[in-house]
């Protein structure tokens, strides 16, 4: 073992490396924790959300373990806490911050030719708020757990559940401020810090999507914040805002909650669309088809996402006319989704497709997101929704979009920009295997849940009638494959940091501004502020990438 360490030191730190954001400004803990550099803050986020991802994933694994046999291995109460932990951690501490705060933070300024985000100190502050929120959430989970699910529905959360509800919602409240500040930073940056020549129609789609996401963050999150504050007050003072026994209205909570939380679905998925719109053109060697449509589809999500919240409440007691209107509006949101999917497939059409790892993840995304989206049309249908409400059909539907879609997109982006972020190439073969495992494992886990839901298996129950066992075993088996697929990148990506080949500035021969600067980029992104003269995605069919140094 001693023989390998000198080699390793040599590969890790050669003398010829130009100064970059990892070396400039020092590598002490202090220099990282007080950094104002958007790239370093992105890394801090990435490390934090990875911890949450595996924490929430462990809870998911226990849920699937419990559901292998009908009586289950956990008591009902433990099971309730497990799915609440899973939901709270994954939604609030992984899905919402994942792409915007890591890849978005890293890439958004570079893609528009800026030196940093508009407010670097606020950017750092939002990371600290996020960490504080995470600590509070983990404390709530460890101290007593919460059994309300991630939605905190009243009056259960205000009257019956244990008092760690207040801690848990405080955590969500604090992380909300982190979201608002990030969104604000993105909007101002895109509006005001674009490089000369970077017009709106020259922005990469990734920037359009993160910009649209930021608008939703800024407009929806404050409503959630005040809703949770009302919930906390009701719980503390026992005055009926939401509790019908005290004269309040639980539907008011649901309206306010979903007014945020349905748009939040687009907070989670829109940045994913952005990633796919970068990866697909690059590995098809073609400009994205219908650039303006894709860009405006992102923006139209922000508008429509605020008009569909009540489709979560079809069976909660709404007038039939209101339900019809929300059903119709929910169909409409399929239009921009379909525009995106059609434009990606049109981009693929007659392209020089190469199946590198980012592309495999992206193709997986398209398949899984489309399945999730189509099942969304089922649930937008009023009559069908009444049949499947609160069954595993809905669980499968949102996992196809959130996990199959969003997590695949996050992995696609992570693999695509990994050489830019770290300056290293990971082991391509292992990355492809992981991508395939995730795709197979995912489908095996969640497709049976569509069937279970259609057959009538209720969600959030720790046990079930024995006739559902076959599909549950399939689902749990799939989950173990999925888990393996998710753990693998942890190893080969870490390995690449020490042993990976040098990436060079542009290993994929991609056309975005971020690829014109060295990998890893220098502290202020560009040695000289670039002037943009061309639209994005000027790809031509090229079997061999230009940069022979990086790409095997």
């Amino acid at each position: 073992m001693t023989a390998t360490s000198p080699d390793r030191a040599v590969t890790a730190r050669p003398a010829a490396q130009p100064p970059n954001y990892l070396t400039e400004g020092g590598s002490t803990l202090r220099s990282w924790l007080l950094t104002h550099d958007h790239k370093r803050i992105a890394i801090l986020y990435a490390l934090t959300i990875t911890v949450f991802f595996f924490f929430g994933g462990a809870a998911a694994a226990m849920i699937r373990l419990n559901l292998v046999t009908p009586p289950g291995i956990f008591a009902a109460d433990t099971y309730n806490r497990l799915f609440s932990i899973h939901g709270i951690v994954m939604v609030w501490f992984f899905l919402i911050p994942s792409i915007p705060n890591t890849l978005g933070n890293f890439l958004l300024p570079m893609m528009i030719g800026a030196k940093d985000l508009a407010f670097p100190r606020i950017n750092l502050l939002s990371w600290y708020l996020f960490v504080a929120a995470g600590v509070v959430a983990l404390f709530a989970v460890i101290a007593g757990g919460v059994d309300t699910g991630w939605t905190f529905y009243t009056p259960f959360s205000t009257m019956y559940s244990n008092s760690y509800v207040i801690l848990a919602i405080s955590a969500v409240f604090i992380s909300g401020f982190s979201s608002i500040l990030t969104g604000l930073n993105f909007i101002v940056t895109v509006h005001r810090l674009r490089a000369p020549g970077m017009t709106w129609y020259r922005l990469p789609i990734f920037v359009w999507s993160n910009y649209s996401t930021a608008i939703i963050l800024v407009l929806a999150t404050p409503v959630l914040a005040i809703t949770l504050a009302l919930l906390a007050v009701e719980r503390l003072l026992q005055v009926g805002i939401f509790d019908p026994a005290l004269g309040g209205d639980p539907l008011l909570f649901q309206h306010l909650f979903w007014f945020y939380s349905h748009p939040a679905v687009y907070i989670m998925i829109l940045p994913g669309f952005g990633v796919i719109s970068e990866v697909v053109p690059c590995f098809s060697r073609k400009p994205i088809f219908g650039y303006k449509f894709v860009a405006w589809a992102s923006v139209s999500f922000t508008a429509v996402s605020f008009l569909v919240w009540a489709h979560h409440m079809f069976v909660a007691g709404m007038s039939v006319y209101a339900a019809l209107v929300f059903s119709l509006l929910s169909y409409i949101i399929a239009v921009p989704s379909a525009i995106k999917v059609f434009n990606w497939t049109a981009t693929l059409h007659k392209g020089w497709i190469s199946f590198d790892a980012p592309m495999l993840y992206a193709l997986g995304f398209i398949g899984l997101f489309t399945t999730g989206g189509l099942s969304g049309l089922f649930t937008a249908n009023l009559a069908f929704d009444v049949h499947v409400t609160d069954t595993y059909f809905v669980v499968a539907h949102f996992h196809y979009i959130m996990v199959g879609g969003m997590v695949s997109a996050y992995f696609a982006g992570l693999h695509f920009w990994w050489p830019k972020i770290t300056g290293r190439i990971y082991h391509e073969w292992w990355a492809r295997i992981a991508a395939l495992l995730i795709f197979v494992g995912f489908n095996l886990t969640f497709f049976p849940q569509f069937i279970l839901g259609y057959l009538g298996m209720e969600r959030r129950y720790h046990s079930y009638p024995p006739e559902f066992q076959f599909w549950n075993i399939l689902s749990s088996a799939g989950a173990s494959i999925l888990a393996l697929g998710y753990v693998m990148p942890l190893f080969y990506l870490t390995w690449s940091l020490y042993r990976g080949q040098r990436a060079g500035a542009n290993p994929w021969a991609a056309t975005g501004l971020e690829w014109t600067t060295p990998s890893p980029p220098p502290k202020h992104n560009f040695d000289k502020t670039p002037t943009v003269t061309r639209p994005p995605y000027q790809y031509r069919p090229e079997p061999e990438p230009q940069d022979a140094q990086g790409h095997a």
Binding site: P109, A114, K115, D116, L117, A118, F119, P120, I180, L184, N185, I187, V188, H191, R192, L193, V218, L219, A220, T221, P222, V223, A225, I226, T227, A229, L230, V233, L236, L237, Q238, V239, G240, I241, L246, G247, G248, D249, L252, L256, H524, T529
Partner: protein, 214 residues
């Protein structure tokens, strides 16, 4: 005259100022929605319990509310004047005016505190000391809960505003600003106008509509 350079991510001081003002506007948009959630709850329950809310509204202290409205409007005018002077580089004048505005904000908080004190004595504080009985007691409790939340959050914003204006006053007195660089004064001004506008919505909802029904 201090030598002020833009921060590294900006090309010019003008750009830095522009970005700061734009950021403040977006922040204020989030604030509108933050208060919007409470106003929405208020609107819903006013529709559900019209008599109870009218009854509760008649218990509010209209004299204090009105005096406070006048104080806030005056302070907003003073701040606008301060921003006007800041654009002309008149640091001392800016300092004095911001000091006056901060003082007016403090008086507002003092009066608000006195109002809370009276409400405590009359048993109008939900959950802690609520002594109303009668057919509308529950609706009144809801009204007062929303009242304390809305005015409490507003008061919190006033407190931050006072701190900001006091800080800016000190900096202006020391000559930190000039006609070329006075962005902090400008965005403090924006913030204070927002605090004022929120009150313009709260005042009629809390003190006036309950009395209109007779």
């Amino acid at each position: 005259m201090p030598d002020i350079r833009p921060e590294p991510q900006y090309a010019t001081l003008e750009q830095q100022a522009d970005v700061a003002v734009f950021g403040m506007w977006i922040f204020l948009a989030t604030e509108v929605l933050f208060f919007g959630g409470m106003l929405f709850a208020y609107t819903v329950y006013r529709g559900v319990y019209p008599e109870g809310f009218a009854e509760a509204g008649r218990h509010t202290k209209i004299v204090i509310g009105t005096v406070n409205t006048v104080i806030l409007l005056t302070s907003s005018f003073v701040v606008a004047w301060a921003v006007h002077l800041a654009e002309r580089g008149r640091g001392r004048g800016v300092a004095v005016l911001l000091g006056v505005a901060a003082l007016l904000g403090t008086v507002f908080l003092g009066l608000k505190g006195f109002e809370y004190y009276q409400e405590w004595h009359e048993g109008l504080v939900p959950g802690l000391r609520f002594e109303e009985t009668g057919p509308h007691a529950h609706a009144m409790e809801l009204f007062y809960l929303l009242y304390f939340m809305m005015t409490g959050v507003h008061g919190f914003h006033v407190t931050i505003g006072i701190g900001l204006m006091a800080t800016m006053a000190v900096r202006a007195w020391r000559g930190a600003f000039s006609s070329a660089y006075h962005t902090p004064v400008e965005i403090t001004g924006l913030y204070w106008h927002f605090v004022d506008i929120v009150w313009i919505f709260l005042y009629p909802l809390i003190y006036l509509v309950g009395r209109s029904g007779g």
